[in-house]
Amino acid sequence: MSDNKTHADHGAHSAEHFREKHLMLDPLPRGQMNDMVMESMLEKPTWKFWIIFAFLSVVVAYFLFYKWGVLIAKGQGEAGVMRPDYWGIFLVNTVFWIGISHAGTFISAILRVFKAEFRRPFTRAAELMTTFGLVQAGFSIFMHLGRVWLFYWLMPYPNQRMLWPNLHSPLTWDLLAITTYLLSSTMYLFLPLIPDMAMARDRSTGWRKNFYRILALGFRGTEGEWTHLRNAMNIFAFAIIPVMFSVHTIVSWDFAAATRPGWSSTIFGPYFIVGALHSGMGAAAIVLAVIQGTMKHMKYFVRGEHFDAIGKLMLIISMAWAYFFFNDYMVQWYGGDKWTQQMLHFHEAGPLGWMWFAMLICNIAIPWAILWNARWRATPWLIATVGIAINIGMWFERYIIIPISVTINRMPFTWRLYQPGIEVPMGIGTVALFILLYMAASKLIPLIPVWEVQEGQMAHELKKFGRETVVSVSELE
């Protein structure tokens, strides 16, 4: 009898433990979850929020738009680009922001295809990163264009002399790939948002009701609407993955298609993709930690298990990045080309050699030192710190690949150390705009896809196998 009681107590304790740990096993009534998400969105912003918002607005206005005006008025001489470093921080930032944008698709599409259940509460937060990251990438490449008002010359249509853009050029492929990715990731963000917009429409008043009513498009949740939506989301989940891979591969070809020391590499495509996922997952960890720490009720939706899962992905991706880095390094080092040897030596022992070592510390040493431990992985501030380190490391990687590598070419009389000018404040402006857009979105868009969370909770249950209690998931689709 007492034995039975002990087992029953143990079972109850174990079920309670599972509920605390796993969002999918801790269901709340849908109405209550809706209320929580709406409250987190409609909660009156604190004075701290407004101070940060005002500060970032000033940074964006001055560093991004005013400085951009100066660049347009005075010309590209304001930037530090000069022979041989024609590609500077603008392109570093372009590659960096496209990298950040990869996490959204990775989390949302790949994890959806593989039915990774932990993805459910934070797919939207990641998809927003994709869209806002691509906006910054677009701005950065426009800054690099110089005469930005002539950007339409890249469009595939004939100009006054009946000349079409050269579709043999990786830069034209960039336009096609980035446009495809920006449009498709924005549509992929919007589709699963429609049911949540309908939920927000049903629970809001005033201008917000009209706003959500327009964006909900008249969604009621009929069988037909769900079927069309589910089909479309499945098509998107599968189709957007090769688009995501193609974008960063094509970005890598901007470099790899040139026969320069350090750039002409067959491995640049996958190396860039892994680098993009590395910085993107790091950024997702930062965003998630901020959301959980600052928004009301988010501790219910975002738990240690989610940070733990992201941490595991970050660790695996860090290992993959180390493998690709070493592979790229080894082949170049072994090749013995005089100029490539000079460039590798310049990376490690040149005036910016500290950046090369910092890159390795941030991208490999810090993640490996921290992310092996399950308890540390589940600690939001710690994993966010690793995310910051990785993003610093990945920015350094792009800086080393672009302006530092461009310095060493086959004409030593042109060698010159790149010294950035107006690019630095403008780059800071893009970071501020990214955060600003995210802050605004957190007050306008339900950051948690409630219907996806509820769907997941319906599919999960605890099952007993002998004396062991385990989590069981049913496939509802």
Binding site: P156, T180, M187, W226
Partner: protein
Amino acid sequence: MTESKVVDLLAVFPDLEPAANAIEHLRALGVHDECMNVISGIPVTEAMLGRPHQWTNVPRIAMGGALLGFGGGFFLAFISPYLYPYPVQVSTQAFIPGPPTVVVLFELTMLGMLISTFVGVFLDSFFPNYRPMKYVPEISDGKIAILVECPNADERKLRMP
């Protein structure tokens, strides 16, 4: 001459099970599946409620868009080089080189497919649609509603518990 009357009812249920039972009950009363529609706050599959398979045109529209995109890519990659007033030769590449053509075809095919998938949801769901429709906000709180739009049905029978 009898007057045709359309019965228009919306019944709200707290959960899947009672909604599935109600559908069976309605069928027993002679209400056809075409006259019923289920409205829910999460995607409830047809199998869960014993409803017939839902038809969707989204995959076909997506395929059509992919073909259109491929056509656009084909035009840019294969036709546009011939529209120049003089031929543009890039290095030692063929006039219509293989690998760059693959890139252009791939990107435009995917763009066509994804845009048409998105548009397909709008077309198939008649979005945007802001006309007043039978709906109760409790649906987004997890309730399941059954909408019956049935001509010539006995409303009193349908209203029975």
